[in-house]
């Protein structure tokens, strides 16, 4: 797959001057997919998205069309559509490009999704620190209202209503978890809810709610425009379509890249991101999907492809597609200790295994990193992780445990050396 042959679905307008404005969006065919969708039945729209195989791009990878179909059809309660723009997983910054450079693509995707699930009110929950992005997004929403694309007669159609509110977060990683996000939208601290009931039945304000990531919704217009079968033809089996990858760390050309799923990790790094600093031989490892996904060794990186199944088989996850590249100068213990500190900071404190476990992990990781590791610490880390994984209301506990377990498995010699010699193998 050469760089020139890439298909742009979500990032197709980014390079244009004024890409954030309605005028440019219109020139590029913006809102035509929404026109098309509104002329179809709601079930047909959902069917098209199901056919596309589009999976949730926020990290969980749940099929989007299926998620939409879970919204009860006959129910007197209002339904809500929520866009998760709380981009906060360390290593992830892909959605920011859409928010600031192509907000109309997101709004159009939301109009289509809202129509499909009969939602008359939608929210975009954008992380609070993205203030300039919020300004862009709000301006685009205002423009869309002004042009009759939103409001009481969506695209001029009687009986199709869609109000869209942009809601700023205020700094809490856990609000990226969909029920934490819903709590936050309701004006509370963002502590995730016990599931079931799932948001499709009891979500925002106790009503049926669909929550999708920015990238997921931004892929919807193209799917409606060119058909679910076309989208399903991109990528590989069970990982259809394109994916945005944020490639950061030790590469020559860090950046956000849209490529088809199934691309070899090596191709993504070498051809798109300009290669590993100092050459491929200088690669130590890659965190392939964001801070919560287990690190891969250089050997694994040489063969793994970037899709849900291949990464799972390699013992990691596609996550949000946040590729963090580390060259041989990196001390893995120190890198993971930094992540453990992050999870300790972000645990919402609701569940004991996570609240206590993230604190313990961070403490023990730090002690090892600082040369005060004790015999048995590595076993202790593993035990803490076992006691956290799958034992909490949301996945933050797992997210904190996975990188630690993964790193011990991938780089056992570095941990052993630290504990034994009280210093780093790397120097």
């Amino acid at each position: 797959m050469s760089k020139s042959a890439q298909t742009l679905v979500v990032y197709r307008n980014l390079q244009l001057d004024g890409s954030h404005t309605l005028a440019v969006a219109r020139q590029r065919g913006g809102y035509q997919a929404a026109e098309k969708a509104l002329a179809m039945s709601r079930d047909e729209v959902i069917e098209e998205v199901k056919k596309s195989g589009l999976r949730g791009r926020g990290g969980a990878g749940f099929p989007a069309g299926l998620k939409w179909s879970f919204i009860p059809k006959k129910d007197p309660r209002p339904r809500y559509l929520v866009c998760n723009a709380d981009e906060g997983e360390p290593g992830t910054c892909k959605d920011r490009e859409i928010l600031r450079h192509d907000p109309h693509l997101l709004i159009e995707g939301m109009i289509i999704a809202a129509y499909a699930v009969q939602a008359e009110w939608g929210f975009i929950y954008i992380r609070g620190e993205f203030y300039r992005e919020y300004e862009r997004l709000q301006a685009a929403v205002d423009e869309a209202y002004g042009a009759g694309l939103l409001g009481d007669r969506v695209l001029g159609r009687d009986g199709v209503r869609f109000q869209l509110t942009v809601h700023r977060g205020a700094g809490a990683y856990v609000c990226g978890e969909e029920t934490g996000l819903v709590e936050s939208l309701e004006g509370k601290k963002g502590q995730p809810r016990l599931k079931p009931p799932f948001p499709a039945n009891v979500g925002l304000y106790g009503c049926p709610t669909v929550i999708n990531n920015v990238e997921t919704l931004a892929a919807v217009p193209a799917i409606l425009e060119r058909g679910g079968a076309w989208y399903a033809g991109l990528g590989v089996d069970k990982s259809s379509g394109t994916k945005l990858f944020s490639v950061s760390g030790h590469v020559n050309r860090p950046g956000n890249y849209e490529v088809e799923l199934g691309i070899p990790l090596k191709t993504l790094i070498e051809e798109h991101a300009g290669g590993v600093r100092g050459g491929w031989e200088n690669l130590k490892g890659v965190i392939p999907g964001g801070s919560s996904t287990p690190v891969l060794t250089a050997v694994a990186c040489a063969t793994v492809t970037m899709d849900y199944d291949s990464l799972a088989k390699a013992g990691s996850m596609l996550g949000a597609g946040s590729v963090i590249v580390m060259d041989k100068s990196v001390c893995i213990v120190r890198a993971i200790a930094r992540l453990s500190r992050f999870y300790r900071h972000e645990s919402c404190g609701q569940c004991t295994p996570c609240r206590e476990g993230t604190g313990w992990l961070s403490q023990v990781m730090n002690r090892i990193e600082n040369g005060r590791g004790e015999k048995g610490d590595i076993a202790l880390l593993k035990e803490i992780c076992t006691n956290m994984s799958g034992k909490t209301i949301c996945a933050l506990g797992d997210a904190a445990a996975m990188p630690v377990v993964g790193a011990i498995k991938a780089f056992p010699e570095e941990f052993d050396y630290h504990v034994e010699h009280g210093r780093c193998l790397v120097g």
């Binding site: 700023r168 801070s291 946040s322």
Partner: protein, 170 residues
């Protein structure tokens, strides 16, 4: 959790008529009957109007205005990192030290800022010009290392660039 700080040199905070109109506009952005959702944006508004931070008095005022029990308002204000519970300087410098920034040299950025501002984490200078805060990932990882000063991101930083940016602030 730090205790809520009182603001000794301030009379009871009140929104200006303009901000009260803004409060009404915020309520209209949420479905009828869901006024509680307006709490977070109203807290942002209060923080802006009352000098960049939220004192105990400011939170009590917001509670009274929104008719939300004070403890619920405290809960929200203390849960999220962007609500400042003590005064901050004119420029709030927030530096990311998470993994991508660290890999790309945030240690050097932090050192440059410390030398320049003569502040430790969480400190505000005597002249109230700068506050220096270490923050978690701000979502600009492919342009690491980065920092945020008030509403703006500064990306692809080097120690030299940092000094220049600080010097150029009005």
């Amino acid at each position: 959790m730090s205790e809520l700080q009182k603001n000794s040199n301030m009379r009871r905070p009140r929104f200006s008529p303009e901000s009260l109109r803004e409060v009404e506009a915020i309520y209209r952005r949420y479905p009828p009957g869901q006024r509680r959702s307006a709490l977070m944006p109203i807290l942002f508004l209060a923080q802006r109007e009352f000098g960049g931070w939220l004192s105990r008095e400011a939170l009590d005022y917001v509670a009274e205005l929104t008719e939300i029990p004070p403890v619920r308002v405290y809960e929200v204000a203390t849960f999220y990192t962007m609500y400042n519970l003590k005064p901050v300087g004119k420029y709030h410098v927030q530096v990311c030290t998470n993994i991508s920034c660290w890999l790309c040299g945030s240690d050097g950025v932090v050192q440059a800022l410390r030398n320049k501002l003569r502040l430790k984490w969480g400190e505000t200078g005597d002249d109230n010009r700068f506050t220096l805060t270490e923050v978690e990932c701000l979502g600009a990882c492919v342009n690491a290392p980065m920092m945020q000063i008030n509403d703006d991101y500064y990306e692809d930083l080097t120690p030299d660039k940092v000094a220049e940016i600080i010097d150029r602030l009005p």
